[in-house]
Each structure stands twice: as C-alpha cells, then as structure tokens.
C-alpha cells in the first residue's frame, strides 16, 4: 500500500471528486447501487470525511 493515496470519481457529466490520504490517513471508496462514496479515515479508523456521488438515471424515451 502506498503512503500517499488519491482516489477520484468522475461522474457521467465529467465532474471529478477527489479525496487524498497521507501518512496518517487512508482513503476508501465504496459503491452501492447508483451511489459511490469516497471517505477518509485516520489512524484510529475514524471517518473524518465522506463525499458521495450519485449516478443520474438515463431518461428512457419510450416514444410516448
């Protein structure tokens, strides 16, 4: 595992959300359904920040 970690999520519109970790923190990424969350935990495993990106749904044109 690298000392300095950076994890990013780019949404369908190209918007980038990044979280950086350092010597005393690590970055985690979790996905469930249409939501992807970036979090940061310190050396005591306490989550200090979390940013979630929700994937927008495709609009289906059913011809009506």
């Amino acid at each position: 595992m690298a000392i300095f970690e950076e994890k990013s999520v780019v949404d369908a519109n190209g918007k980038k959300t990044s979280v950086k970790g350092g010597i005393f923190s690590r970055v985690e990424m979790n996905s469930k359904g249409n939501t992807t969350c970036l979090g940061k935990r310190d050396v005591f495993n306490i989550k200090s920040e979390e940013t979630c990106v929700v994937t927008p749904s495709t609009v289906v044109n059913n011809g009506k």
Binding site: A2, V9, N13, M29, K32
Partner: protein
C-alpha cells in the same frame, strides 16, 4: 461509457481514458478494473497511488435485455451482481455443476447433479447488473468495453 485504450510501446506506453468528452492519460502499467459498473484505472507506486473511477448514467437494468434460454453453461462458479449492490456466488460441489437460464422475467440458477437437476435460486432478470462465469454466453455483452 468510458473507453480505455492502451497506446504506444515500451516506456512510451500509455493508458488513455475517454469519458464524458474528456481524455485523461495514465501510465502504461495502470491497472483497469470494473467495479459495480464503473471503469476504474489505478496507478500504483511505492509512495503514491492514484485511482480514478469513471461513472456512467445508470442505464435500465441490463438483465431485462437478456435473451431467453441458457445464459451460462455448466460452470464451476457463477457470480451475479444485483442492482442493489448485493453479490451472489454459486459454487459447484464435487457431485454437481451449476448453470443458469432465463425464462420470461426470471433467471434460474440450476444445480446439475448425478441424480438430476434442481433450481437453487430464482432471480428477477431486472435485478441483475452483471454476471461472471467460465462458460458464459452473455457476460461479454454485460461487461464494459475494454480495448487493448
């Protein structure tokens, strides 16, 4: 949809990602994976690692577009990811081997044993996000495009 292409040779090899009208370049050794429908590119070093995941608009479930009939031939292990994030793995035993078939709205996981076949699970086709197995007729069409 993110399109990942490996370009160049030797030290000039690059991993190029095209997504949402933008192009981003990574080192040639960057690892490309698929995580819950997103394409993720990871550059790993001793001191620094960088991971970028590219999301796409959530399309209507791929499962509903699956054809009727056999989806997966006799496989040692079938892994199914559902739209809610749940992952189900069906491993074969010494005396049986699993397969998967779709009939109407339902997808059945079948255990084929010495004494016949038995349905071990039934899943709504609309709930299926991804299927992975060794002998899969539909896996390629369900997984993201990866050009090398």
């Amino acid at each position: 949809m993110a399109t990942v292409t490996k370009k160049g040779i030797g030290p000039w090899r690059k991993t190029v990602v095209e997504h949402a009208g933008k192009t981003e370049t990574f080192s040639g050794s960057a690892k490309v994976t698929e995580q819950n429908g997103a394409v993720c590119v990871t550059e790993s070093g001793i001191f620094k690692s960088k991971e970028v995941c590219y999301l796409d608009k959530s399309a209507p479930s791929k499962g509903s577009a699956l054809p009727d009939g056999q989806l997966v031939g006799k496989s040692k292990s079938i892994s199914v990811e559902l739209n809610n994030g749940e992952k189900r793995v069906y491993d074969s035993s010494i005396t049986s081997i699993n397969s998967m078939e779709k009939s109407g709205e339902n997808v059945k996981v079948v255990k084929n044993g010495v004494f016949g076949s038995k349905v071990v699970d039934t899943i709504k086709a609309n709930d299926i996000a991804n299927i992975q197995s060794e002998d899969c007729n539909v896996c390629k069409s369900m997984n993201p495009i990866y050009k090398d």
